[in-house]
Subunit: 319 residues, 3 copies
């Protein structure tokens, strides 16, 4: 695994939340909280990243995550360039690195990389010059660290102390980078009880998600949960088996108001978006009073600002 820290102990890359200790995560959440703004509040101009260039390397032309990173970087005063590059194995490993070296030579300081294949952000992080940082914007099914942080920030804002909380992660856990990053950060923060709820086909391998209680029935797993984290189910998955067909999936695993009533009365609902309304979540819940979904988006910019700040701050006083 690519080392994420500099020799002096400062954070250089953010590829996964695995290996980040509690103090590090709390510092990031603390700083992110400072960047949270009320809706409509003016955006204070910052020069924290003045002179820094951030390149967004995304395989899709425009995504919420790309815009979230772009705005986070711009609001800290960075220059941002967006590229659509194919970094995956369709290009050979060496051409992928050539692209990275080229951007490095163009004085790009931070790469934000989203890729459908395992290992791309790490491979690039392992090869770029010491002053360059890599942030994962979502890597295959394995990692989505800024999503994990924004989930943690949202829970912290709404529910406070993790050591008293039961969090249920619901849906396609098996294929979800969101679930994996959430599990890592919530475990590190000392969450009292972690549950995963999934149909057998979407349940992760036994060796994964250590410490989580597993449920196949939604009603059982939701009982008294403080946080219900819903996952998106991909269209491709629904075609795999009759049990995953939208209407049937909704009947068994869709989060409806009556089901949510089984959780703690003050439970909050999360979803990484985009939502399949009427498949994994009912609109009455998505738009209901217990939904914290829009807070997640707002917190996403703040978390990404905090991460960009941390990576650059660790470069030392000379920048």
């Amino acid at each position: 695994m690519t080392e994420q820290y500099r020799p002096d102990g400062s954070l250089r890359h953010l590829l996964t939340l695995e290996g980040l200790d509690r103090a590090e995560i709390e510092r990031l959440l603390e700083r992110a909280q400072g960047y949270v703004r009320a809706p409509g509040a003016p955006n204070p101009r910052s020069t924290t990243l003045a002179g820094i260039t951030v390149a967004n390397l995304f395989t899709e032309p425009s995504t919420r995550t790309r815009v979230s990173f772009e705005l986070a970087a711009k609001r800290l005063g960075a220059e941002v360039v967006n590229l659509e590059v194919q970094l995956s194995s369709r290009a050979k490993g060496e051409s992928m690195l050539d692209t990275a070296y080229t951007l490095e030579a163009l004085h790009v300081d931070i790469f934000v990389i989203r890729d459908a294949e395992v290992g791309v952000p790490g491979l690039i992080a392992a090869h770029v010059a010491p002053h360059v940082s890599v942030v994962s914007g979502g890597e295959a099914h394995v990692s989505h660290p800024t999503q994990g942080l924004l989930d943690a920030l949202t829970i912290r804002q709404r529910k406070g102390d993790f050591r008293r909380l039961a969090v249920a992660i619901v849906g396609d856990v098996r294929h979800s980078r969101v679930a994996r990053s959430a599990w890592q950060v919530l475990r590190t923060l000392g969450t009292a009880e972690l549950r995963i709820i999934a149909p057998p086909l979407l349940m992760p391998e036994r060796g994964e998600f250590a410490g989580c209680t597993r449920f196949e029935r939604l009603e059982e797993g939701l009982r008294d949960a403080d946080v219900v984290m819903m996952l998106r189910i991909q269209r491709e998955r629904m075609a795999l088996d009759a049990s995953l067909e939208p209407a049937r999936y909704f009947a068994e695993y869709g989060l409806t108001a009556p089901r949510l009533a089984l959780a703690h009365p003050a439970a909050i609902v999360l979803h990484p978006q985009p939502m399949n309304r009427g498949v994994e979540i009912a609109s009455e819940v998505a738009d209901g009073p217990q939904s914290a979904i829009r807070d997640q988006v707002r917190n996403g910019v703040a978390v990404r600002m905090a991460v960009l700040h941390a990576l650059v701050a660790g470069r030392g006083p000379d920048r």
Copy 2:
């Protein structure tokens, strides 16, 4: 119809020119005039929109209108993000709104929306938070308000008092958002005489374009006109009927120099671009001394700056 004004009477959205009173339009034109620069004159740096984020949501990757809005926003100091999103009914209404809520949560203050379907800008405007504004960058065949304003500004610069002018709108009036917005603004500004000239197939329904005189023969309608506003005819339309086939359309409705000579000797020619030269307009006219087409483009940036300014100024002193 979505309310465009805030309770205090300030302009919040600009979806259509319908309902804007003469004073409002004149204020916008006045401010736009102040933003007009001579070619090559340096761009004064402005911080009018500092701290404001503008998102351009266009369904096509790059259009003149998108660049015009992008430059207008940047020249006032705003942050701009460009997104290609499918907002239309191909996505269900709720996912369209989810995209809007996401951008709102990312602290986007102004949405510029171009969409081929009726109702998308209005639907979003009706649902976003009170501090968020929506500007239409062109909505189906119904509305293109900044185009209407730039047409009015161009006419005002060249011809002065609208109460003395005869304006002829020529071509595919039936399907034209440009014609509808022009008709609205010119009527409000008290234009003496409004004419529409179109072949029977492209003539709007009787109930529309109240107060306009209708002509099926170009020569008749052009007589003594002070302003000749040509419209683009779409390729799809030309395929509908033999009478709309390019050569035949040009023979009957193309604006040539001899035909332009039927208008007032000081008449000006407008076109929203892109032009089908040799179909609706001859190059000798498009590039001739009476053409104000490039002025329209220049005025487009100024008008969009004025609109963005107005929407933000109305948010009050706290921003």
Copy 3:
């Protein structure tokens, strides 16, 4: 050919290096050298291009060259818009010019144009208003002036006086804009010996590359060369003839370590990228100690900053 100079002798367009005299080129290289930064060094904020708008018109969505120009312009304080426009003859000449006139009317000051067809940058340069400049970002097989300048800058940094150097250009010289621009700049700078090395099918016509010695055998042409400039061979080309099939091409024309050993021991290797590793160049050479390929990329931004500066500086004190 389009005139590149203003009446007062200052550089207005950069479409080709042909016709630029040695003093002009040295001034550009000198200024570019001043813009070169060490890897990781902070980017000093500049306002040299404040108030200036640069439009990147590229036919592909994102390329290294586009990003290089974009960063060069932004680092000098310019506003940058990226457009994907089809400027080629697929659109008729007049619509191409309409696009240019539109951008000019939007107060774009500098167009950076990359196009696969001959003549597009020149045609636009010939028609835009006097205060507007055009820079070629690569024109068909004929010209890539900023690449030529960055090649020259890289050679100058590493090898010093051109009058003592033997430079070998290797590969698909026939179809290469990189080779043509390199040949022009190196000849003007007084390079002692210029060689081209190519298989018969990729050798340029006799009338071209005046003053170059021609070699069909790589080993012969490399002997004692100080600079080995490798060219990319296009996939389409490899399909044309069995002799250009990748493995066979590599066997005959690929730059390997043993072959590079035939050149001067202190020889440097250049490549415009992207590289076909294992086709025109071996990885051991591309990543070896004699490779100056990453320097070329870094120098590319500096050269583009110098060019943008020169074009704007010549507009006089009023800007």
